[in-house]
């Protein structure tokens, strides 16, 4: 559905995108994660036809997005930094958006008034709080009945109840209408609940792109204890991504499924073995550790 092929973009000699490759399957939810300045927003602006890439291709449904009205009419986009017209309230905004998106569903807009009851229909959007503005943007985006929904930090500023509502509405669209969703967020805990696939970006590149299940299944956290003194560096059967020791218990982040890891560590006769799946947040931290992005101990 969405493809970025070797996309490069330069700003004043600096490569914000340096050969990005990305593939999003139709009807899936794709989580785009990465540190600040990784190029996520820049990539999203390419996917929505705002930026034109210097090199490479951006395709949605096999067609280029840039200057393509047909494709852009199928995309609903919620940016991190929302735009609103000076004195417009949500109804004015709805009339404006409706003028551009042929699939805009006015009845759905009416139905969703109950969900977004906190929004005063007569109040100018610019006078609303950041969270309410996000709700308004989401309300309008979802009423466009888009084939592709692209969200940059969509729930940033929303309260927990509204977050759940928003994710729920989005997932309903995915399941009922087969909407393809690409979402960029720093809230990895929430992405873990909704994403099918995750792409990790750093320094203008997608370092890793995999389904969440395979990603979580391929890295295991082992908590092991050995009798007597044990030199951890003698373990050479599998790749240790990270190791730490508290008391006599080692915590090892290693590549491999839980079963493989249990079998391999058993050779070293541990007195205690516990294999745990990693959270998305842990994967993010450990994967980027090799990219000079490890969490540093802070000494004040």
């Amino acid at each position: 559905m969405i493809k970025a092929i070797d996309v490069k973009k330069q700003f004043d000699g600096f490569y914000a995108l340096d050969g990005v490759n990305l593939h999003v399957e139709p009807g899936s939810v794709y989580g785009l994660v990465g540190p600040n300045g990784a190029g996520k927003s820049t990539l999203i602006r390419h996917l929505t036809g705002i930026y034109k890439q210097d090199e490479g291709q951006i395709l949605i449904d096999g067609e280029p997005v840039y200057e393509n009205n047909k494709i852009k009419a199928e995309i609903a986009y919620i940016p991190d930094d929302l735009f609103r017209f000076g004195a417009d309230n949500i109804v004015d905004m709805m009339k404006f958006v409706k003028g551009f998106y042929p699939e805009f569903d006015t009845e759905r807009f009416e139905r969703l008034k109950g969900v977004f009851s906190i929004i005063d229909l007569k109040k100018p959007v610019r006078r609303m709080s950041k969270g309410m503005q996000k709700q308004a943007a989401f309300w309008l985006a979802i009423c466009c009945n888009p084939k592709v929904l692209i969200l940059d930090e969509p729930v940033d500023g929303l309260d927990p109840v509204m977050r759940r509502q928003v994710w729920s509405l989005m997932m309903q669209d995915v399941s009922e209408r087969g909407t393809t969703v690409l979402v960029s967020s720093h809230n990895l805990r929430e992405l873990e609940d909704v994403c099918d696939t995750v792409g990790i970006m750093n320094k203008g590149k997608v370092l890793l792109e995999r389904s969440l299940s395979s990603l979580q299944g391929n890295v295991t956290k082992l908590q092991v204890a050995f009798a007597g003194d044990f030199d951890i560096s003698t373990i050479n059967d599998f790749e240790i991504i990270n190791s730490s020791k508290i008391g006599s218990i080692y915590t090892l982040v290693v590549r491999g499924t839980q079963e493989e890891c249990r079998e391999k560590i058993a050779k070293y006769s541990p007195v205690l073995v516990d294999a745990l799946p990693l959270t998305l947040e842990e994967i993010f931290i450990y994967e980027l550790g090799g990219e000079d992005y490890a969490v540093k101990d802070i000494i004040l």
Binding site: N69, A73, K98, G99, P102
Partner: protein, 604 residues
Amino acid sequence: MQSKTSSSDFFNKTLFTKNRKRFWPLWVGYSFILLWFLSAMTFLSLHLQFFGVDNEHMWHSTIDFIYNDALESCFPIAAIFSLFMALAVFSYLGNERSCYYYHSLPLTRNQLLSNGFISGLGMMFIPNLVFYLFTNFICWSDGLNAIKALSFWLLLITVEELFFFSLAALCMIVFGHNIASPVMYVILIFYSELMALLLNGLYQNLFYGSSDSLVTIPENNPLGIISPLRFFNSFNFYADEKLVEANVYECYKPYGFWMVIITSLVVTAIFIAAAVLLYNRRKSEHAGDVVAIDFLKPVFRWVFGISFAILFTTMITETLMSSINYTTKILITTFVLLVIFGVISFIAAEMIIRKSFRVFKGIGKRFWTYTAFIVAISFGLLFAGDRVTKYVPDNSDVKEIRLNVSSYEFAFTDRNDIDMLMDCHRSIIEDKDDLVTMLNVSGAFRLNYEYVLENGKTIERNYFIPTEYKVARNLSEFFVENAVSLIFGDPDKTRYDSCELCLMDKNQYYDYREFYSDQTKEIVKALIKDYESGYITLEEMAPDFAGIYRYSDYPGSGYYRLELRRSAFYQKDYLYNLHVLFFNEKCINTMEYLRKYVNFEDYL
């Protein structure tokens, strides 16, 4: 899924409605301006009747108002409101957030541009049409048919708005900042005027004899559009005197109007083509940048650098060193200032582009290229200055010399006169140093030479000549000896368009009497006869002319004032355009002729 706006659809109703609703204060304000400056003023012109003024007179003055005041007001109205409208409809380009939003909509850049044009121009064109019809109705209800005059107004304001709106839109596209765009728009409108002024000021310091108009903006020529201020006021509607009596509404004929219209439309088409081209090359990420088109950044740096170098150098030399013109000291100072300010301005341009004071990194190559250019240009100016100072054309190449002495103009085609005047010119150049010294101790008059060469080109030089200088004395004698022919030409060969006699009645109100060409010729002959008979002195008859070579004032009471016009309208040859002459009761020949038309007993 089809977009509501297909890729070939250049009008989007939603965007048009949005702009109309968002920017209503602009088109309402614009409508009020038209209501006042066109409809209300026309109404007042028709109905604000003074005692004893008949309808026909009011109609005439109304038509005159439309052809003059209403048409003249088109320039400021169009220039100002076109900028406001362009700023409004293209404001999204100057801000990242709005720029990204608009460009994420299912609209191509060409569609955004065309919709901006339609919205911005629509907010002006619709009121134009409404007030055109309304003003016609006002005139019609008073029995006046002003359709032709008002149609000229409608055409002019429409074309001017197209021109200025396209220019403003282009500025919005090229300059991505909402403050930079209007500033650059205003600068572009006045740029050629400003640069001509500055360069003439600079040349006057560098070249001895440099005239105020060494650098000129073409007039009555399509190239004049480089100065819109001048260009859109360069046409005229004049009343054809033969038709005045026949039909007041049809008597106005345009001069230069169609050239203005056609040139404006051509330039507007170029602006629009440039806008389309540049908008498609404009990157969204440059929203908010001062220069939003990458390949125009070097152009901005160079033009900004050179322009400000000339501005500051001229300002300093004009204000601090005006008393030491043409010396080696000022030449060297000007050279140094040009280089220093050129470099500073270039760095300032870089700071503006980058929106940062940290610009020295990576500036090296282009900085040195530019500096070398500035040094070369400054050297070139010095050498050119020396050549211009010393240059006098060959006598055989000169067809005519036009002399302007203290704003009094003469033309000489006689070979002996030309040779004599060219000798004077060469003497002035040879005695340059003495003349500059003498200027500080004696009075001076301004002497302007304009050579018309055989090949049609003109060369102009301008000097301040001390009255004690030998050439000044020679010229004075020459003027007195040839006064009649210099003032009047040969009455049998010269075409006088008209003259106007100014009289004061017993209530001390002025009354003006107009005489047409043949009558004027007879008046001139009578006046020459009176002067040659010694009934009036040269100083009494032509004080302006006498003032060329010595101080002279206008005569007081007992004199009648006569304005002699060589040309009632702009012509290429406009010499002797206007002479103010005086005569009194002693001028029996003049009085005798004029008594056929004027009862002098009724006047003071």
